[in-house]
Symmetry: C2
Subunit: 245 residues, 2 copies
DNA sequence: GTCTTTCGCTACGGCTCGTAGCGTAACTCA
DNA sequence: TGAGTTACGCTACGAGCCGTAGCGAAAGAC
């Protein structure tokens, strides 16, 4: 883990590292998390069990490292529009989650992490933060194209932009993960289109039937007055102040 | 599980059932999924280990049953507007996920289910489908208020509506779950407001700083073109018609 | 060549799983 | 009331995995 420069003695076998990580992914596919044993991984990797424990102190950490690299294949080529970029990344993320080792491992590790702060931190840095650049990049491009408003100036503007990135990341990744792993349904191109439409245009776009449009009132002004947190919503509705919850 | 009416012999103790499920939730909080053992649950419940195995054949099924009821407390009181309804359900779902037994159990069970079709089905019926009525209800109300367009007529319209419900459910639940359990961040009222704004108005609303609005183009009219489903939208934006859902 | 570290191998105590067998408790039906 | 049936608590067991220790050998650094 720590790349402490070992000066003397027999160096650790890089081949063993690779073999172990490969074996871990393979065992994950065949056995799932619950039935995956360290002994079996060692056997598959052609390595002694003790060698595993010399590198990773437990199953969780081994699996995090084995899986994290899988997410690195996610990319965000410029597809020309925000819409296309979102749709593309949704589809490639879903494709990644279709693969047995990814879905099994991701959920298992996240589950284990609910009780393990160190593991949670490892996931955050090894996977979440590492992939967040996709949102940053897509957002930057959209702003350059004029599809999204520029960030407000000043430090508070930057903080707000960071929050927006976090939000969008959670929404997109969360929707795909939930669809794949909880609802246990496939991410089809049609679904990706729907999700993208929802993200771009809001809920009103999700049932876009050619049905007649009521009147203008649903098309509330796009931007809620942010300043007034507890103010009366601009929705034209009867609701209590949104901040009351 | 099956309520096969047992006619004769000593009946199963309902008190034991309750004690076991309570003990399961309690053990989940203290130990997490990985360290939870059947023996420990039996001990906490004041019950013999064999009694557990007479009712549930393995840990996963026990935990699903122990946790499913927790989600039933989710409700959707009419808060007067779509905005308030969404925000309310996001916050109460998040509150539910803050509780250790819920978060631990949900993820663990979902993780286990990635390798177990039967368990996946159990989760779908015991949790997902059971809670989807929240979306159906909120949507129906919003349509009645004129905040969302009505469903298109005919069977195809119904299918489209069902897809919309599934999508919204995955997006909302997914975002909250991802935020809580993967990103390991708290769901604050502010975050709930931002998510709601995104859902209602689309991405352009996520960085709504009071900064100057460029021109009209980002604040595209909320509602996609009336009549023409596939027509070129008057959105003034760059995107293709939203009606392709 | 010597020193240091890793390697594969074997063995071990400790823990959990899931099952079996026993005698007893609780309830139904005649 | 008594016989039959089922659930109960308890104990014990084989099997499997975990994580560690100790060994001699291999592989580089100096």
């Amino acid at each position: 883990m720590a790349d402490s420069p070992r000066r003397t003695g027999r160096p650790r076998s890089a081949a063993a590292d690779r073999a172990i990580l490969d074996a871990t992914r393979s065992a994950l596919v065949d056995l799932g998390w619950g039935r995956l044993t360290m002994g079996d991984v060692a056997l598959r990797a052609g390595v002694a069990k003790t060698t595993l424990y010399r590198r990773w102190s437990n199953k969780s950490e081994l699996v995090v490292d084995a899986v994290a690299v899988l997410f690195d294949e996610l990319e965000l080529p410029d597809r020309g529009s925000l819409r296309a970029d979102v749709e593309g990344v949704v589809l490639s993320f879903a494709e990644l989650l279709e693969r047995p080792e990814t879905r099994t491992a991701l959920m298992a590790v996240v589950a284990e992490a609910t009780r393990d702060e160190a593991l949670r931190a490892r996931i955050r840095t090894a996977i979440v933060e590492r992939q967040k650049h996709l949102v940053v990049e897509g957002r930057r491009r959209a702003q350059a194209r004029g599809e999204l408003p520029p960030d407000p100036p000043g430090p508070e503007g930057a903080a707000e932009a960071a929050r927006a990135v976090d939000l969008v990341f959670d929404v997109i990744a969360g929707a795909v993960v939930h669809r794949c792993l909880v609802s246990a349904a496939r991410v089809t191109p049609r679904w990706a289109r729907s999700l993208t439409a929802l993200l771009l245009h809001g809920l009103a776009a999700t049932s876009p039937g050619r049905g007649p449009r009521p009147s203008g009132q649903t098309a509330a002004p796009l931007l809620p007055p942010r300043g007034a947190a507890g103010g009366t919503g601009p929705d034209g509705g009867v609701q209590k102040p949104a901040g009351s919850v």
